[in-house]
Subunit: 141 residues, 2 copies
DNA sequence: GAATGAAATTTAGCAGACTAAATGTATCAC
DNA sequence: GTGATACATTTAGTCTGCTAAATTTCATTC
């Protein structure tokens, strides 16, 4: 019995996150963004001029992944890169106007998807789920 | 407030599933498998000779993804493909001995990861989480 | 039975994600 | 200042995942 529940939770988690990814992907394509790029831009909306290593930490991914994402976003005119004047190893990433303009529309898409995910779940239940998911996060680090 | 919780849940979900993916990936590399291939093999352990379309449905992904996964698994000697005798469009996928031998070791890895994810969470809470996640699954289809 | 349409798979091309290895730059010790 | 080491980024190559379009085979309809 224990096993069945455990297994269901893992698989359920998997199905939810991959379906969410598909939904976000589809939704973000309307803004000419690929899924994941929104999260990189989000870090820049909080304040740009950030290094790629800082983006790595925020996105929780490896440097080559950031290199590719940054390249793609630059080619599409959402950001630009500038080498640091004091430390030649460092690339600093900045938003273009086109990149800044996406903040509001992306926020709307996020809200829509979140509401869809949690519809018909009460506030109490949301709090419980959040607490337990935070525990899971600590468990798997 | 509502927003904050919603957002936390979405992001938490994201962090958990990507961390889980990393953990599974690392764990499965010891068996010479890439993450996701275990799930394809699982379908074959239930019974092989399955078509690629059936694998699509099981993995909930698109045909080209299955083509690539099957190619990789075939090259590594875990499975082989045979064209259906009655319908020349269909490829049927079978396990090799090497593929069959992975069932137990993969099951152990799954159990390990699941236990890690849910440690220190009570049975009641697990049931609650499962119920709410099932609701989320229905929400986002 | 030839043409049309539907189904299963593949190809090409792109994105996120990874590892391993290379490059370029900075720092620090001697 | 030269050499060793550490750090930020890039390159090359692989995998899962996708879409769009091509291919092959089957089924239907006229």
């Amino acid at each position: 019995m224990t096993d069945a529940v455990d297994c269901d939770i893992r698989q359920s988690l998997d199905r939810i996150s991959s379906q969410m990814r598909r939904n976000y992907s589809e939704s973000l394509r309307e803004l000419n963004l690929y899924v994941g790029q929104d999260n990189l831009l989000y870090r820049l909306w909080l304040g740009d001029g950030v290094t790629q290593m800082q983006l790595c930490e925020h996105l929780k991914c490896e440097p080559p992944t950031v290199t590719n994402m940054v390249k793609s976003l630059e080619q599409n005119g959402f950001i630009y890169r500038k080498r640091d004047v004091d430390d030649g190893r460092i690339m600093r990433i900045f938003l273009t106007d086109k990149g800044k303009e996406l903040e509001k529309p992306v926020e709307i898409k996020w809200r829509e998807q979140q509401e869809k995910l949690l519809q018909s779940i009460s506030m109490e239940d949301r709090l419980i789920v959040r607490k337990l998911m935070q525990q899971m996060e600590r468990n798997i680090v």
